[in-house]
């Protein structure tokens, strides 16, 4: 088993140091600018459905194409909304991964340097 062949280990001061680096703060900021709006958007979009269906059933029964009504079309649109948000997130997350990789690389070399000095 080579499960923890090179497990990263560090003490509290090292974790605190990484948390304070500019790179890490940038990563958090860039994640927030995507995740918070995306989360709020899908919550609002989703809960509009039960709210409208629950409180305005007549309006939602408005027929759009043949018997197909607003309620069904809005419900169906939720699937495409979810897929689209997921797709956008995956695209944005590739960028997060790149930044995270740099932070990991820096952290690992920092620990190694420390060990060499000891």
């Amino acid at each position: 088993m080579s499960e923890s062949a090179r497990r990263y280990e560090a003490d509290k001061t090292e974790w605190d140091r990484i948390a304070e680096t500019r790179e890490f703060k940038d990563l958090l900021a860039i994640k927030k600018t995507f995740i918070i709006p995306a989360f709020l958007f899908f919550i609002v979009y989703y809960f509009l459905l039960p709210i409208l269906v629950g409180y305005a059933p007549e309006f939602m029964s408005t027929k759009v194409i043949g018997v197909v009504n607003l309620a069904y079309l809005f419900a169906l649109s939720q699937f495409f909304m979810a897929w689209t948000v997921a797709w956008l997130y995956v695209k944005a997350a590739n960028n997060f991964d790149r930044l995270a990789k740099d932070i990991i690389k820096e952290a690992e070399s920092h620990v190694q340097k420390g060990q060499e000095i000891q």
Binding site: W15, L27, A75, A82, I103
Partner: protein, 534 residues
Amino acid sequence: MSTALVMFLIFIAITVGITYWASKRSAGSSAYFAASRRVTGWQNGIAVAGDYMSAASFLGIAGIIAFQGYDGFMFSVGWLVAYLTVLLVVAEPLRNAGRYTMADVLAYRLKPRPVRAMASISTLTVSTFYMIAQMVGAGALVTLLLKDSGISYHTAVIGVGILMIGYVVFGGMLATTWVQIVKAILLMGGTILLSILVLAHFHFSLGDFFNAIGHVTYHEKGQEIVKDFLQPGLRYKPPYGALELISLGLALIFGTAGLPHILVRFYTVPDAKTARQSVVWAMVLIGSFYIMTTFLGFGAATIVGRDFIATHGGTNMSAPLLAQALAGNIFFAFISAIAFATILAVVAGLTISASTSFAHDLWTNVIHRGVERKPGEEVLVARVSAFVVGAVAITIAILLGPTANVAFLVALAFAVAASANLPVIVLSIFWRRFNTTGAVAGLAVGLLASIGLILVGPSLMAVDPPTVTGTARHLIQAKAWFPLENPGILSIPLGFLAAILGTLLSHEPSSEHKFNELLVRCNTGLGAERSGSQ
């Protein structure tokens, strides 16, 4: 021997083969609990779908749409959109900072023993209740589907129980994963076939299909009724229908990301990026499946009809009866076998998440303070507890009997996951000030509020006419105190409130002390558990 039974036996043979193969690759904790973290993104995505889409969604939703039209489709929507919470909020941090259970992430900076003990109680509650609902359903279903073979409810429950225990005890997470993958592929295949047949029935004209949905005919109290089944309001009616819909939505959107058997799946992949990819794969499958419930449910309503389904086994038989109407007995047998596979894969997932939590959280970390006294002890304890959990579920399912009203147990599982698990996971990842008192209070209040509100809600409290007998009767014969079947709208805020108040009313510098470490780990994957080599 009926065709359905033959197909059941083929599925059992395949899964037993998988278990035998997996049993040789399940030595060691990481292999047993997390399939050595070598499951690929698409494999895990399919497995998540197989773990998630229960009999309640395959048979239950087809039935609800067949009987109550559009309102049933609201479940389908919530069950997919919920994965955005999983994707955006929990999957990656969990994979980065945890090992085997959701409690791993909580225990990082909080006092491990009280937090793990409470998280484990919550996990065991969610998993066992959900499992009992599935087992009762399985027993009733197998007796209906195999009624020509003379298999009794007891035999069916014991059979399902032994199989799920077998997968988990011998094959661990690896066997569970592949049973779920096989099931998901079968379920998707069956659903696509059924949808095409429904469309073919309408000469591949969506217009004709939707026109038929607009004029569904059935009889009620001797009167012929023609209804537009696309119109909302057949299930959720005033005065509480709207609140019930919102409460259901809250439980689904926040509950899915707190279901222990879904969360443990993210430990089986090599890293957070793969965890993310697997959520996306799962969303493609789950979304396609739930869109197709349009054809399953409305197809059953228009082609088979409420009247026929009601006299041939009831709502849950809608999908199999649709298959029979469209393509005869062989296809009925095939769809029945898929329903059976569906239940088995879900109960196996529940069993492994319950036993992992017992062994890893309660046994190793609470009772023995994080020290595994002998190598292999944790896995041994997990195997024994899988056996015990399975035996308990079999016993309760037999005691309750096939007519027991157990649908509320599924609502309860989602409510506990949303009100107890999710608030605590989210606050521990995102709130520096969060501490042990807050976590324990949030878990306890979320759990108790969900159970309490369901206990005094319409699922368990109602006045039945004397014609309803035995376990089908409501537990408390009085008017319900809480008007909603889904407690989410009240229990979720209560869970969050307790977690926040508990935190603000106590001081625990050590939890803030280690927040930076958790923050860096969750967001970068630095120091995360790696996949093992075999």
